[in-house]
Every structure is written in C-alpha cells, then in structure tokens.
C-alpha cells in the first residue's frame, strides 16, 4: 500500500512539472495497466522531466492535470513561507457590479443566498456621500475569531491568512459572534452542491466542499495564490477594485495594474475598517474620492 502511494506521488510530481499528466482512457489516471490501452498517435511532444532532462512523449498519453492535490492539513495551517498577504480595495472604483461576489460564490460553492463578499451601500450620516463598500474577511492580525475558537478550527497562518478547518469546526458559532465585520456564514443545512464537488477531497485552502454544521468565510483563495494566481474576486472585478499582494514584497496588483503597496496607501490615504477595535485587518480601503462612477442604488443591485 505504501509503495503504491509513493509511486503515485512520484508519478504525479513528474507530470505536474511537465504541466500535464500521463493518463489512460479510464477514469483513474494512476492505473498503469490502462495506459497500455491508449493507442499512440505518432505525434510526439517534448516535456521536461523531474531530472531536468528533455523527454519525448506521445501526445495520446497526455491529459490535462485532473486535480491539483490539496496540500496537507499541517502545511495548510502554516501557510506559504516568506509571504504576508494583504488586500487593497479602491472604493472610488466600485459601482456594485458584484462580479466579485458571484465569482466567489461560484468558485466556493456557497449556499444560495449567502455571500462571503458583501457589497454594502454605506453612508456615514445624512449629509455625507454614499458609496459602495465591498467587504471580504479582513484577515486580521489580531483576529477576534481565532481568539475565541475553542478547538483551533479557525487559525491565523504565518502568511497572514485566517482560515477555517471545516473538518475540525464544532459549529459553536462563537467566532461569528466575535467577528465585528460580520464576515462569517454558517452552513445551516447540508450544502446543496453537485455530487462531483461534494466528493472532492476537502482542504482548508480551497474551502471546498463546504460542510454541514460548520462555519465558512472568505479565505483569500490560498489555493489560487499558491499557484501564483489571484483570488477570484480580484480577477473577476471588471473595474479593478480589488488589489492583492504581498506586503513583504510591497506590491499589490489587480491583474492589470500593479502598485507599490506603501506608495498606494500613502498617496491615496488608505485606511482600515474599525481601527479602534484593535483587530489590525489585512484589508485596506482607499477612500471613495475622484470616483469613476456616480453612486446609484438601484433595486436590481439589491438581491435581498
């Protein structure tokens, strides 16, 4: 059993490096017997092996990587070494298109009606200007949710991300009461997801599949970040509202534009929400000045 596991891993590592996996025509790409069933097409493709040598493989044996294997729980709890992630949300660019929300809901298979990203119509007082304020999890450096969790199911990683381990969560909902940003949601019933997704191996980095009786929230998409990508909300926003990056590298990007984080915060007077509570969020906001769009609160924006 163990040797089988090892050879699997080696096999997988090889194919991942090459950017493709050798596969049979059957459902399981790891069964060598089935590989022989594939008839060579004669068309050869050059690939890089684990040892750094260039090898040639018949194209018929190639298949896209079916699923990135999730990182181990112990690794997911530590985080990506040498990083400290942060987000900058530019309120002057937001017109509540909510593409961030729908992309997030779609990719994390969130229960219909619930949202990890909320887009609030804000107005501090009668005479002040209204504006849209998208909120994610703030990934606080002093997270009140982590403080109160009785079983270490929600935890702060070295790279700044606050995650939930749905395999450990007991569903006491103390974290929901503790979070001043109302960013946590609860799976009140069995998640309504297709079997294919429900059968996926759970990882706290993908937060998929959601589990009945446990808490969920924005996770900064560490699975995407680990692959060098951006969180889904960042890439989905047509107006480039969300910037994501590493504070240690001092850069943030929305995909199209990249800024030096410290300059951006300095030049545009960035701030964080509820600074007085001492939670030290990792999400920064740029004030809604010189706006790209006027504020229009139409009913169609209001799903609730």
């Amino acid at each position: 059993m163990k040797t089988n596991e090892n050879s699997r891993r080696e096999f997988l590592a090889t194919t991942l490096l090459a950017g493709a996996a050798l596969a049979g025509c059957g459902g399981n790409p790891f069964t060598p017997d089935e590989v022989t069933d594939v008839k060579p097409s004669g068309e050869m493709v050059k690939l890089l092996s684990v040892d750094g040598e260039i090898i040639e493989v018949d194209k018929a044996f190639l298949k896209p990587v079916p699923e990135m294997p999730p990182v181990a729980n112990t690794e997911a709890r530590v985080g990506i070494p040498g990083k400290k992630f942060a987000m900058v949300i530019d309120l002057s660019r937001c017109k509540s298109v909510k593409k961030c929300q729908s992309a997030c809901n779609h990719m994390h298979h969130i229960h219909p009606g619930q949202n990890w990203i909320k887009v609030y119509p804000m107005q501090e007082s009668e005479k002040t200007a209204p504006y849209w304020q998208p909120t994610t999890c703030m990934h606080c450096d002093e997270p009140p949710c982590v403080k109160v969790c009785p079983v270490d199911a929600t935890f702060k990683r070295k790279d700044g991300i606050v995650l939930i381990d749905s395999d450990r969560c007991v569903g006491c909902r103390f974290c929901m009461a503790a979070c001043p940003y109302s960013s946590r949601v609860f799976n009140w019933e069995e998640p309504q997801i297709e079997k294919e997704i429900a059968d996926k191996p759970y990882s706290c980095e993908t937060s998929v599949p959601q589990k009945k009786g446990t808490v969920g929230k924005c996770d900064f998409c560490p699975d995407m970040v680990r692959q060098g990508g951006l969180p889904h909300c960042v890439s989905a926003c047509p107006n480039g509202v969300f910037f994501f990056g590493d504070i240690l590298e001092d850069t943030v990007t929305n995909g199209a534009e990249t800024f030096r984080f410290s300059d951006l915060i300095k030049d545009k007077s960035g701030y964080r929400l509820m600074e007085d509570l001492g939670t030290k969020p990792s999400v920064y906001y740029l004030p809604p000045v010189n706006r790209n769009f006027p504020f229009e609160n139409n009913e169609k924006n209001e799903k609730a």
């Binding site: 929300q101 009606g113 619930q114 949202n115 909320k118 887009v119 609030y120 119509p121 909120t135 009140p144 403080k147 109160v148 969790c149 009785p150 079983v151 270490d152 199911a153 450990r168 969560c169 007991v170 569903g171 006491c172 909902r173 103390f174 929901m176 009461a177 503790a178 001043p180 940003y181 109302s182 946590r184 949601v185 609860f186 799976n187 009140w188 019933e189 069995e190 009945k212 009786g213 446990t214 808490v215 509820m274 509570l277 799903k303 609730a304």
Partner: protein, 435 residues
C-alpha cells in the same frame, strides 16, 4: 419550629409514591420531553436549518436557555454555602431543594449547549483540540467542576438519611432498597463519620462559592469578550451573577410552595420560611435592578452610534414589549409584592417566584439575540429571513423539553430521596428543645 417527635418527622419526610396528581405531572413532563427529543432528531437529520437561527442571529433560545440554566443553578451555592457559612439556620430545610435544582439545571445547561452545536458528533474535539484561551473551554472546565461539587454537596448530607431509609425495607421495595444500600450502606452514624462529612461539607461550601461565581462570570464572558454593542460591557460578570442569584431564589420559592402543598409539609416549610426567603428575593431583586440601571443607563446616556440602534430596539423598538415585561416581571412587580408582609405569605410568594423565573427567562433571551441583530455593519446581502429571529416549533420544543427534563430530574429525586433533610431536621428540633 414546633416540637416534633423523631418518629413523626421521619414518617412525614420519607419520600412518597406518586399520587394521581404526581402521575399526571410526570406523564406531562415526559410528553414534553418526548416532543423535544423528536424535534432534536429532526435537527440532527436536517441540521440547524430547522431552527430560525441564521448568520446574523446565530445564537437564539438555545443559548438563552443555557444562560438561564447556569443562572438558576447558582442558587445551590447561595442556599447551601453562603447561608451555611454565615451560620443562618432557618434555611436548613431548603438546602436539598436548592442543591437538586442546581444539579439538574447545570446538567441540562451542558446538554443544551451540545444541542446548539452544529457538529455535536465532534464534541470530543473540545478535549482533543481544546485551546485554553477560549472562554468556551473555561466554561467547560468550571461547569464540570461545579457539577461535581454540587453532586457531593447533595450526597454527603444525604448519607444519614440513607441510613434511615434503609431501615424501611418493606416500604422501599426491592429496587429502591438496592439503590439506598449501594449509596449508603457504609454509613453507620459513627461520630468519626460525622466529623469527616462535616469537614468535607465545610470545605466544599467554601470551594463552591468561587466556582459558582466562576461559572456565571465565565458565561457572561462568552458575550463580554466580543466587541458587540450590548455585550461589550465590564459590568457583565456582576450583572449576570446578581441576576442568577435572583432567578435561583425565585425558583426556590416556587419549589418550596409546590413541595409544601403537595407533600403536606406545612410543619417543615413554614410561613416563616416563605417570609425569610421572600426577603432574600427582594434584596436580590434590588441588587439586580441596580446592575440593570448600570447596564442600560450609562450607555443610554452617551448613545454611541453603535449602541443606539440596540438600545432603542429594547426601549421603544421591536424588543420593547419583551424588555419591559422582563424588567417588571423579574424585578419590579416581585419587589412590590414581597415588600409587604401579606405578600410574603406562601401563595403570593409563589406567584412572585413564578414572575421572577418567567421574567428572567425572557431577560436571558434579550441578552442574547437583540445584540446579534444589531451588528456593526448593517445587515445586508442576505435573504430577508436572515434579518429577523422568530424561533421555530423545533426550537421551542427542544428548549421546552430541556426545561421539562430538568423538572423531571427534580421530581424523581423527590420521589426517591427525602426532599427535606430528615436527619438535620431532627438535630435542629433537638437543639431547639435543649435551648
């Protein structure tokens, strides 16, 4: 107390079989419990979806019921420990009533918290992955400690009574006789044994006071350690404790009346006991009123923006009927009844006790839910049903079932054991005669 012969005392106080009333009472409680179990099975199957709890009001009547149970259980320490250590003797006949209320309430507090969990199947995680910085773990520790100390405080004074009961073999029947012998056959009424138990009870009485304060202070910290308006208060520990003593004392008034009338114990639970216990309730209600004024007047004076919505919701808004009912029923009206000598007669005191307990239950609801419905950021991007909280029948059935369960434990205890300590009553009467 009138002079009573020892035999008469024993005969009066031995546990009695259920009469017709008792049987109806037990059947009703069992029915409520059964409905609660059925509702809980549905909840286990469908998930917490069957409740009205949603992302904003994520705690509801389960948690307020939990706070209520923890609160009422504090009376055990008040009557047994505080009054014992201050050398108050009139409360002796009430100690066992108070202690069984404490034991049954604290057990059901533990059960109802499991009911509230989204994953009760992972309860063991609290022990395998418990983290000491979470107030929930503190609560688990102090509540377990309190349960064990209360059980011992129930058991030790019971030992001489067990010896008396073992003597009534025919009356007991086979099953009860075995139980009594299992629990107390080693007790021989030897002076050394009394010396040991007296010492043990004294030590336990001293220990239970800080533990009792801890259970309810820590329970208040489940709320006060968050930032939320209505919970973010340094007053919370004392506010909870004073309220807890009040509801417990109210519960004792009710139990005194019920046991007295049902078992014809007028000679043992006298009008004088009602008079004194009522005065205790008035004192506790005044203390609780003081903490309420602290809790609401000070933030209302400032009316910080984050607090305003919450406070106005209580004073004049959607929760105002429950709020003013709870304040008047748990404090104002009982004080008005019980400050008069006539009001301290058993019937009125019983009525005041009911007001205190019912009002206090709703007070706990007001502590938990309105705060959750007034978050810092406005409620948004959720279905409309998420913005209100009206408990479903499953929640009422489960909460009601837990209350009925606690009453059942008390009822069966009174069926099996003497609810008024026999031995201590005899001693007290003797010392009266000598004096």
């Amino acid at each position: 107390m009138e002079k009573l012969a020892e035999n008469k005392i024993i005969e009066d106080l031995l546990p009695q079989k259920f009469g017709k009333q008792g049987q109806i009472w037990v059947v009703c409680l069992l029915a409520v419990c059964a409905l609660g179990c059925y509702a809980y099975c549905r909840q286990l199957y469908y998930g917490l979806e069957v409740t009205a709890l949603r992302d904003y009001a994520s705690w509801g009547i389960y948690i307020s019921n939990f706070v209520f149970f923890v609160a009422i259980s504090l009376v055990g320490s008040l009557i047994t420990a505080v009054l014992r250590l201050t050398d108050v003797h009139w409360s002796t006949p009430l100690t066992r009533i108070a202690e069984i209320i404490a034991v049954s309430a604290i057990s059901f507090a533990g059960l109802i918290i499991i009911v509230d969990m989204g994953r009760p199947d992972r309860f063991y995680n609290l022990f395998t992955h418990g983290r000491l910085q979470s107030p929930i773990i503190w609560d688990v520790i102090v509540i377990t400690t309190y349960l064990f100390i209360s059980l011992l405080l129930l058991y030790f004074p019971l030992l001489p009574d067990l010896k008396i009961m073992i003597g009534f073999k025919e009356r007991n029947g086979k099953w009860l006789q075995k139980l009594y012998e299992f629990l107390g056959s080693f007790w021989k009424n030897k002076p050394e044994q009394f010396k040991i138990t007296d010492k043990a009870i004294n030590i336990l009485s001293v220990t239970i006071i800080p533990v009792a304060f801890a259970i309810h202070t820590v329970t208040s910290w489940l709320f006060a350690t968050t930032y939320r308006p209505g919970w973010d208060s340094t007053n919370f520990g004392a506010y909870f404790i004073s309220g807890a003593f009040l509801v417990g004392a109210g519960g004792v008034l009710i139990a005194m009346y019920v046991f007295r009338t049902h078992y014809k114990l007028e000679k043992y639970i006298t009008d004088d006991h009602f008079d004194k216990m009522s005065k205790v309730v008035v004192l506790l209600a005044l203390v609780y009123l003081y903490f309420n004024i602290n809790e609401f007047l000070v933030p209302a004076f400032k009316m910080k923006k984050s607090e305003e919505e919450h406070l106005m919701g209580l004073f004049t808004g959607e929760f105002s009927p429950i709020f003013w009912f709870a304040i008047s029923a748990s404090m104002l009206v009982p004080i008005l009844i019980l400050i008069f000598k006539k009001g301290r007669k058993p019937k009125w005191a019983f009525f005041a006790g009911i007001l205190v307990v019912v009002g206090s239950w709703f007070k706990r609801f007001l502590i938990v839910t309105p705060t959750l419905l007034h978050p810092f950021l406005p409620m948004h991007d959720v279905p409309k049903s998420y913005t209100t909280y009206i408990p479903t029948w499953e929640e009422w059935a489960i909460a009601g079932g837990s209350l009925a369960g606690a009453l059942l434990v008390i009822t069966f205890f009174a069926r099996i054991f003497p609810i008024i300590p026999i031995h201590e009553t005899i001693i007290e009467t003797d010392s009266h005669e000598k004096a």
